[in-house]
């Protein structure tokens, strides 16, 4: 499925803003994303599987906080850095 990558994480994706990753849950997709682009997951997901404070994940344009969220073929995942600071 399609994953949209925010600018601060594109150093991991060879500057690509849109990449592919697969999985039945958000956790699986992020694990697959990290296999393809090593190191990218830990910059947005902490060691307790929490989404870092200033990162936001959206599935089909709905914000999600749980990595257990189920995903289906054709779903779209957007990763954003939150608007914080000036």
């Amino acid at each position: 499925m399609k994953i949209w990558i925010p600018q601060p994480l594109r150093s991991y994706t060879q500057q690509r803003s849109q990449v592919e990753a697969n999985g039945a849950t958000l956790a699986e997709v992020l694990a697959d994303l990290d296999r393809r682009y090593p190191g990218i997951r830990f910059r947005m997901i902490d060691e307790q599987d929490g989404v870092r404070t200033h990162m936001k994940l959206f599935v089909n344009r709905e914000q999600v906080d749980s990595l257990a969220t189920s995903l289906h073929e054709g779903d779209e995942v957007h990763i954003f850095q939150a608007l914080s600071g000036g």
């Binding site: 830990f42 307790q48 914080s84």
Partner: protein, 383 residues
């Protein structure tokens, strides 16, 4: 290093917005900026491996992205990110686990352990790498110590950037003997003699003017602790409550800051030692009066030096602004090189780097207009 260095010198300047290398010429009179590296990253510490004289490690994060470590073995020309940054173990289901906010202090391990490093983090955690900083593991003897919750984990208390573990100081006689310090309510200086499996507080004699107990076992606020490699039983400490020295045979901290001029005081953050003279140290006093402005006292910045283990102090301000200069120098933002005569350097929260190539006798500004400086370290690269 017991004999003076003669090779190329660079200062590693860690800032809130990236890393700069400040390369000195042979006379250490002209310095050239190289950078920014990692523009936009918050760099808390960049450290040179004095064992192989070529490796640099950098503790980084951004305002949005989590913490990581970058490594270079070619003086910063290329960098490689750690494949497993420092992280606390995953907590059991239903429990709240700790999360590393940022790496704060990097320290090469003992000379007999090449490629091994330690890292102190915020909140207070201790981590070890055995592969040159590529992968990091929790030092469970500290992070899971039965008393760890007493000593740490006050996430909302501590320094403005959070509670920190810092001042990892390795005994050159024994890789299993080292010290750490923590700034957070519950902190203090701690010591291990078994490689980090067990720990004991080491705070006797140190003042604590922000707690109702006069001489508690721990809970102090060390700002910076230094062990002298040529005299490992001699410790110096710049604390929230003054400047201290401990001779281990005495077993108590002695407030050598009482010998500072009273109108300057003995509050500050960094303390640096002369690599070839255990009796010589430098501090950068800050205004700790009233509401704790943490600026140069009276707007007149100065370094103070002792040559007798703190029994007396000499003001060193030649070349520094004489008035209306409100420097703040953080605990990692002062460094010495290993040349002869010794060079000493500090970075300010205003983004200036100041240096002296003659042991503090005269100062000049080496760089300005940088972002807020967290740390300055000297790197004596192999030729």
């Amino acid at each position: 290093m017991t004999s003076p260095a003669t090779g190329p010198l660079a200062l590693l300047v860690s800032t809130r917005k990236g890393l700069w290398l400040l390369h000195g010429d042979a006379a250490r009179q002209r310095f050239t900026l190289d950078g920014p590296h990692f523009l936009g990253h918050v760099i808390h510490h960049a450290v040179f491996d004095c064992r192989d004289r070529r490796t640099l490690l950098v503790a980084a994060r951004t305002g949005h992205l989590g913490p990581t470590v970058f490594r270079s073995t070619d003086i910063g020309r290329t960098w490689k990110e750690a494949s497993r940054p420092a992280a606390f173990p995953k907590a059991p289901a239903g429990e709240t686990g700790r999360v590393v906010d940022h790496g704060f202090w990097l320290e090469p391990a003992h000379a007999s352990e090449p490629n091994c490093w330690y890292m102190g983090t915020s909140p207070e955690g201790l981590f070890r790498s055995e592969d040159g900083g590529d992968t990091w593991s929790s030092v469970t003897g500290f992070n899971d110590h039965p008393r760890n919750a007493e000593w740490t984990r006050k996430e909302d208390l501590g320094t403005p950037d959070g509670p920190i573990l810092h001042s990892i100081q390795i005994d050159p006689r024994d890789p299993r003997h080292f010290y750490i310090a923590m700034s957070g309510i519950g902190g203090g200086v701690f010591e291990t003699r078994d490689g980090g499996s067990d720990w004991k507080p080491l705070n006797a004699g140190c003042a604590i003017n922000f707690a109702p107990i006069p001489d508690p076992e721990f809970g102090h606020d060390p700002h910076c602790v230094r062990l002298h490699p040529l005299a490992p039983d001699l410790l110096y400490q710049q604390n929230h409550c003054g400047i201290y020295r401990m001779r281990r045979a005495e077993g108590r901290w002695v407030r050598i800051g009482d010998n500072m001029p009273k109108d300057v005081g003995d509050i500050g953050f960094p303390i640096e030692l002369h690599p070839r003279d255990p009796r010589t140290a430098w501090v950068f006093p800050m205004d700790g009066t009233d509401v704790w402005p943490r600026t140069s006292p009276d707007g007149k910045p100065a370094v103070y030096r002792t040559r007798d283990e703190g029994e007396s102090w000499q003001r060193q301000d030649r070349g520094l602004p004489s008035d209306q200069a409100w420097f703040t120098v953080r605990r990692q933002a002062m460094a010495v090189d290993a040349h002869e005569p010794l060079g000493i350097y500090f970075g300010t929260t205003h983004g200036e780097v100041w240096g002296s190539a003659n042991e503090g006798a005269e100062w000049s500004c080496l760089a300005r207009h940088l972002p807020l400086i967290h740390a300055v370290e000297a790197a004596e690269f192999a030729t």
